[in-house]
């Protein structure tokens, strides 16, 4: 009997020694793993401000209702039903709520409805006895005061999808966090987001929080000040809102983008909550593509806008000078293939300034032919075509600057003279974004500085390097552009502006969508407004102002707008006039302040 006692006792002591001494570390670790949980604190997102510190995106404290399943006394469905009587909850949302409740533990809260109105709050508070498990908590909501006017430039935030969460273990634990989509919100996501804070908490066996062990505050996201001017956003948006188009305005001293609009647009505030299917369908399947930022992702044949490039290439390579005159008879034969001027009767003999003023095609066919594709491509590349400009936005397209090598690789076909001539009037394979056109305009009007477009203001001002283009040649081209708008007979003469003597110069362009058949040409061309929207020409205008001391470069693109002179130029004129007027007002207020 005694032997048995000793044996049993040694078993117990042996086991205790094994567990509490030999394996103690292992079990200590397991015990800590049991009890310590990490809760993450989402930092408040940084503000996005315009050049006058007017917010383009800020956070508003809103109230939302959440439900805790275990507090509903087992009447989850009736609570939700009662709630539905007070506040509208869509069927899809209802499904989502039930799904989330199933996935989460009973004591965890699930969003029921975001951004409650005052009336909704009041009715919930009044009926709270009928709503066991429902409570109201505050949360931050992203607000875009500029709304659809700046949607494409600023972007929006939305909840993360499962795909976003795949590689984001940290964010996975904060399912309520919204992240930036498109625009500045996405490009500067890291800086706007800030740093996640954390709370080490002690949790009990069912995961309920018991106490806080350690807290690290979240670091709020950085406030970003842009070059954008929300007043100009409004001007640009209002000028374009009936069209599908875009406009970019660059301050040529800084490269700062003061305006960037794309239409039709959408309300970025909608994305705070999950979009309903119908709204999403309307946005994503609209033939005018409201979700696309046309200023940076719309790629078009630049048409006559490109004549500026061709002119500079010809001047720089000594093909022409200011005195060179070329006869326009309305047609030019290369071999037996005719190239037509837009003016059937021809312009007669023209020098460069006149050719730009009237946008004569024959002149540019000729000088393109004489200059050759390689030199034109070289000049176009210097002025920003064929590659992304590097603007601080997501989704910028590079356009297309064709070359001999490109065509050889792409089509296995040699570059032909006809290709060069098409390039002379900005047609053919050539593609450019409105931003690229604006950058080209900025580089030309800044007398050859390599201007890089930026949205974000930074403390370091980089002086743009020179493109090494002769100032005389640039001045000559600008003289032509001034004539386009300000001389009788210029293609944009009717849209000339005069703000205290400050004038605008520029270049119109209309690019064909369909090939004009010989038969149509003989029967007489249809007027643009007689065509279906989809078949009308794209309309462009690039401009700068003031003409005597250029400060702003602008590009306007109107998809299927009809004509550059009739559609894009008036919009550009309207924008530029407002720009100059606002500058005047700002100067005066600054004077007053002093």
């Amino acid at each position: 009997m005694g032997g048995a006692q000793v044996a049993l006792a040694s078993i117990l002591f042996g086991r205790m020694f094994y567990l509490q001494v030999v394996e103690a570390d292992k079990y200590k670790m397991l015990a800590d793993k049991n009890r310590i949980g990490l809760k993450l604190i989402a930092p408040p997102r940084g503000l996005i401000l315009d050049c006058n510190d007017i917010p383009l995106a800020y956070n508003r404290k809103t109230f939302r209702s959440v439900i805790v399943a275990e507090d509903t006394n087992g009447n989850l469905r009736s609570t939700l039903m009662n709630f539905g009587k007070l506040v509208l909850v869509s069927d899809e949302e209802y499904e989502r709520i039930l799904k989330e409740i199933k996935q989460k533990r009973a004591f965890m809260s699930v969003r029921v409805k975001d951004d409650l109105s005052f009336d909704e709050m009041a009715s919930i508070q009044l009926n709270i006895p009928d709503l066991p498990g429902i409570s109201i908590e505050d949360s931050l909501m992203r607000v875009y005061p500029s709304g659809e006017k700046s949607a494409h430039a600023i972007g929006y935030v939305s909840f993360m999808t499962d795909e976003d969460l795949k590689n984001q273990e940290e964010l996975q634990k904060m399912p309520d966090v919204r992240i930036g989509r498109t625009g500045v919100e996405e490009f500067y996501e890291d800086r706007l987001y800030g740093q996640t804070g954390s709370r080490k908490i002690e949790i009990n066996a069912v995961g309920r929080e018991v106490r806080e062990l350690e807290k690290q505050d979240a670091v709020p996201g950085e406030n970003l000040r842009l070059f954008l001017d929300s007043r100009l956003q409004e001007v640009g948006y209002n000028a374009l809102k009936e069209e599908a188009g875009s406009a970019v305005l660059i301050d040529i001293e800084t490269g700062g983008v003061k305006m960037l609009v794309s239409t039709p647009s959408y309300d970025p505030n909608l994305f705070n909550a999950p979009l309903d299917v119908k709204t999403w369908k309307n946005l994503s399947q609209n033939e005018r593509r409201p979700l696309m930022n046309k200023a940076i992702a719309g790629q078009y044949s630049p048409g006559s806008v490109f004549k500026i490039v061709v002119a500079l290439a010809a001047l720089e390579n000594g093909i022409i000078n200011e005195h060179t005159r070329i006869q326009c008879d309305g047609r030019l034969f290369v071999g037996d293939h005719p190239f037509h001027c837009w003016k059937k009767t021809g312009h007669g003999p023209l020098n460069l300034v006149e050719a730009l003023q009237h946008s004569c095609d024959i002149f540019f066919y000729q000088i393109a032919y004489d200059t050759g594709v390689d030199k034109i491509v070289e000049m176009a590349s210097r002025l920003g075509f064929g590659d992304v400009t590097g603007i601080d936005l997501v989704g910028e397209k590079a356009g297309l600057l064709p070359s001999r090598a490109w065509k050889e690789a792409k089509y296995g076909d040699a570059w032909r003279r006809g290709d060069t001539m098409n390039m002379g009037i900005g047609q053919g394979f050539l593609l450019a974004t409105p931003l690229q056109m604006a950058v080209m305009m900025a580089r030309v009007s800044s007398k050859g500085k390599k201007i890089m477009p930026r949205l974000l203001q930074s403390d370091v001002t980089e002086t743009a390097e020179s493109l090494n283009i002769s100032p005389q040649h640039l001045a000559l081209v600008l003289k032509g552009l001034r004539a386009v708008v300000n001389e009788r007979g210029g293609t944009a003469y009717h849209t000339r502006i005069n703000v205290n003597g400050q004038r605008m110069g520029g270049k119109t362009a209309s690019t064909q969508i369909r090939r004009i058949t010989l038969k149509e040409r003989e029967e007489g061309l249809k007027q643009q407004h007689e065509l279906k929207w989809k078949d009308r020409d794209h309309a462009f205008f690039v401009g700068y102002a003031p003409t005597d001391k250029p400060k702003y470069a602008l590009a306007v693109a109107v998809e299927h707008g009809g004509g550059g002179g009739s559609k894009a130029a008036p919009i550009a004129g309207e924008i530029m006039r407002k720009v100059l007027e606002l500058e005047q007002i700002d100067k005066e207020t600054q004077k007053d302040d002093k």
Partner: protein
Amino acid sequence: MSLFLDRNCYFKDFEMSIKDKLLTMSWSFFFLICCVVGIGIMLLYSVAGGSMEPWAAKQFFRFMMGCCVFFTILLIDLRFWMKYAYVFYAISLLLLIAVDVRGVVGMGAQRWLDLGFMQLQPSELMKINLVLALARYFHGSGEEDVERTTHLIIPTVMMALPVGLILVQPDLGTASMLVFVTVAIFFLVGVQWWKFALVGAAGLAAIPIGWHFLHDYQRQRVLTFLDPERDPLGAGYHIMQSKITLGSGGLFGKGFLEGTQSHLNFIPEKHTDFIFTVLSEEFGLIGSSFLLILYMAIILLGFRMALKSSNFFGKILALGLIVNFSLYVFINTAMVMGLLPVVGVPLPLVSYGGSAMMVLMAGFGFIECVYVNQEMVIGRLGSSDE
């Protein structure tokens, strides 16, 4: 090891005053019990998050009641207990039947009988009354009786009836304890070795059949014990967490009221069956060893007190009870250490529980009673003067 030493009966009138009895009783035995109960109350205080409610205060109150029972039993004449041993046995048997018939369901098993003023657990009573009855039975048997197999039929039935009734409840833990105690008593009175071996072999052979009759949760417990990783979030969770709690205490423990596992509810039944882990977590190997040493002291002292008895009834009674006690200690601690399956056996004197405390104190009362009356000689038929 034979206990048939003083079989030549002589009769003598045996009377002791209360004062004599109190002077004779083993106060060190009682002191050790108080120490263990004190540790228990301290742990219940800790488990409740540093509060006397809901367990510690009640446990203390029950211990006080238990002390009354303890002293009452030790002051009553041993011959009285012997005389009515079968009656007590019969009463507990009836109560067990009553529990099966109209017991209330508690913790998924019918174990309680609601008497209105208190909840009675007849299986607890049976733990003592079976020992009483068996001691009474073997008191009258001589060495040659015990060696007859037929002589063992009645005590076997006396054991089998309550075991059957308790298994129905179902309470595997208590039922097997009754079997163990009976086997121990058989062993003490001198039943031959080969009989144990025979029954043991038969028992092993019966395991597959017994498996068939086990409740699902009981099977789960056995399977989970054999392989805790099998179901780490289900049944194996308790064993795993129990080991974590014990092991994480280390040598010196996390400190009083500092146990994370117990306070954060990772321990199931932390105030009853798994309370030993709370001690180990907060006081480490030092603390748990101290408690085990206290238990061993109680057990050794109990054995010595039992062996001093001049009458066979007392010897069997006290030995049976102390064996019962030590089995409880061993099975509970081995269970929380992951050495035995989780069978629902509380840690005596420490685990929270009213019936258990009463029964334990009653048991110690009987041991003291035997000790106090150690010089009493009782004839084969149950009186000192026949």
